[in-house]
C-alpha cells in the first residue's frame, strides 16, 4: 500500500481520439486523480498547459496537426511553457525500438505502448513520481537524461554527442 495522494495531481491527457481520452481519464479518475484536463490536439494541449500548469502529461504520438513529438519539443524548449520539466508519458501504438528511441530523444519521460492497461498506467505514473530522471541541457537537446540508469556511476567512454539526431515528425 503506497497511500499516494493522487487527488493532489493535475494531469493533462492529450489524444485526438475521444475514446482513448475517455479510457485514460476513466483510469486516472479511478486512481483518485480529480483535476484532469483534456486536449484533442497539440495546439490545444499547449494552450491548456499554459493555463493549468499540469503536474503530468499523458500524450498521444500520432495526431492531426502537431505530432506528440512536436508537442514535447515545444514543452521542453518554448519559453512560454510554465514548466519545461513536466513529466511526459507518451502513449502510442508505435511499438518498435526505433520509435521508442525517437520518443526518448524527443524528451519523453516514460513510454506506454497501446493497448493501455491499468497496470501499465499505474507503473508509469509511479515511475515519474518515484524515479525522476536527471535533466540534460546540451546545444541540441533539453530533457530527461536518456541514459536511464547509473548516470552517477558511469565510468565508460563518453558517448554523448552534440550532433542532433534527425527526428521524424511521426
Amino acid at each position: 500500500m503506497s497511500n499516494y495522494r493522487f487527488d493532489r495531481l493535475k494531469i493533462l491527457v492529450v489524444d485526438d481520439n475521444a475514446h482513448m481520452r475517455k479510457l485514460v481519464v476513466t483510469i486516472l479518475q479511478a486512481f483518485g486523480v480529480v483535476q484532469i484536463f483534456e486536449a484533442e490536439n497539440g495546439e490545444r494541449a499547449l494552450h491548456v498547459l499554459r493555463e493549468s500548469n499540469p503536474d503530468v502529461i499523458v500524450l498521444d504520438w500520432v495526431m492531426e496537426g502537431m505530432s506528440g513529438l512536436e508537442v514535447i519539443h515545444a514543452i521542453r524548449t518554448n519559453p512560454q511553457t510554465p514548466n519545461p520539466f513536466v513529466p511526459v508519458i507518451m502513449l502510442t501504438g508505435h511499438t518498435s525500438m526505433d520509435h521508442v528511441r525517437q520518443a526518448r530523444d524527443a524528451g519523453v519521460n516514460e513510454f506506454i505502448a497501446k493497448p493501455v492497461s491499468v497496470k501499465t498506467m499505474m507503473s508509469r505514473l509511479v515511475a515519474v513520481i518515484e524515479h525522476p530522471r536527471p535533466y540534460v541541457r546540451t546545444g541540441v537537446y533539453f530533457g530527461p537524461c536518456r541514459r536511464r540508469r547509473g548516470v552517477e556511476e558511469y565510468r565508460g567512454p563518453e558517448r554523448r554527442s552534440e550532433t542532433p539526431k534527425q527526428q521524424a515528425a511521426e
Binding site: P87, P115, V126, I129, P132, R137
Partner: protein, 163 residues
C-alpha cells in the same frame, strides 16, 4: 568531436513526490482495483467504440480514394493507427493485427509513392468482416491465413517501393 557548449546535467527537485507522498513507493493496489472495476463498467461501450472506429476508417478510405493528395493519406494512417492501438482493448486482437498491417504499409511507403487502393480495400474489408462476425479468437485458422496473406502482400509492396 570538439564540444561547442558544455553539457549540463542536473536533478530538479522532486515536486511530484512532495505533492503526492506515498511512503513505500509501490503500486497502489486499492487504486488498481478501482481502475479495473471502472474499466469493466466501460466495456459495455466498447462495441460502440470499435464500430465508430471502423466507420471512421471506411470514411477515411473513401476520402483517400476520392482525393489521394493533401491530408487524406495522413487521415487514413491515423485511423488505421488508432485502431491498431485500441482494438486489443476492445477485445478485437485480429482487427488490431490487420490495422497494424495497414498502418505499416501507409507509414513505411514513401510519400511520393501512391498507396495501392486494392490492398487498402483488402485490409478495410477484412476489418469490416472481422467486426461484423465478431471474431475475437486469434487462433481462427481462416483469420490467421487472411492476416498472413495481408502481411505478405504488404511486404511485397514495401520491397518494390523506391528506397
Amino acid at each position: 568531436m570538439k564540444r561547442q557548449q558544455p553539457i549540463e546535467l542536473f536533478m530538479p527537485p522532486n515536486m511530484l513526490k512532495a505533492k503526492v507522498g506515498g511512503g513505500l513507493g509501490g503500486i497502489d493496489m486499492a487504486a488498481m482495483k478501482r481502475a479495473e472495476a471502472a474499466m469493466d463498467t466501460l466495456k459495455s461501450e466498447f462495441n460502440d467504440w470499435i464500430a465508430a472506429d471502423v466507420k471512421a476508417l471506411i470514411e477515411a478510405r473513401a476520402a483517400y480514394a476520392k482525393a489521394p493528395g493533401g491530408n487524406a493519406r495522413g487521415a487514413l494512417l491515423r485511423r488505421a493507427h488508432d485502431i491498431k492501438g485500441q482494438a486489443p482493448t476492445f477485445n478485437f486482437p485480429l482487427i488490431a493485427r490487420v490495422a497494424g498491417s495497414l498502418s505499416r504499409m501507409i507509414g513505411e511507403l514513401p510519400e511520393s509513392t501512391a498507396l495501392p487502393l486494392g490492398l487498402i480495400d483488402a485490409h478495410v474489408n477484412a476489418i469490416q468482416v472481422i467486426h461484423k462476425k465478431g471474431l475475437h479468437d486469434t487462433s481462427d485458422k481462416i483469420a490467421q491465413a487472411l492476416c498472413a496473406e495481408l502481411d505478405a502482400r504488404v511486404d511485397e509492396v514495401l520491397a518494390a517501393a523506391p528506397k
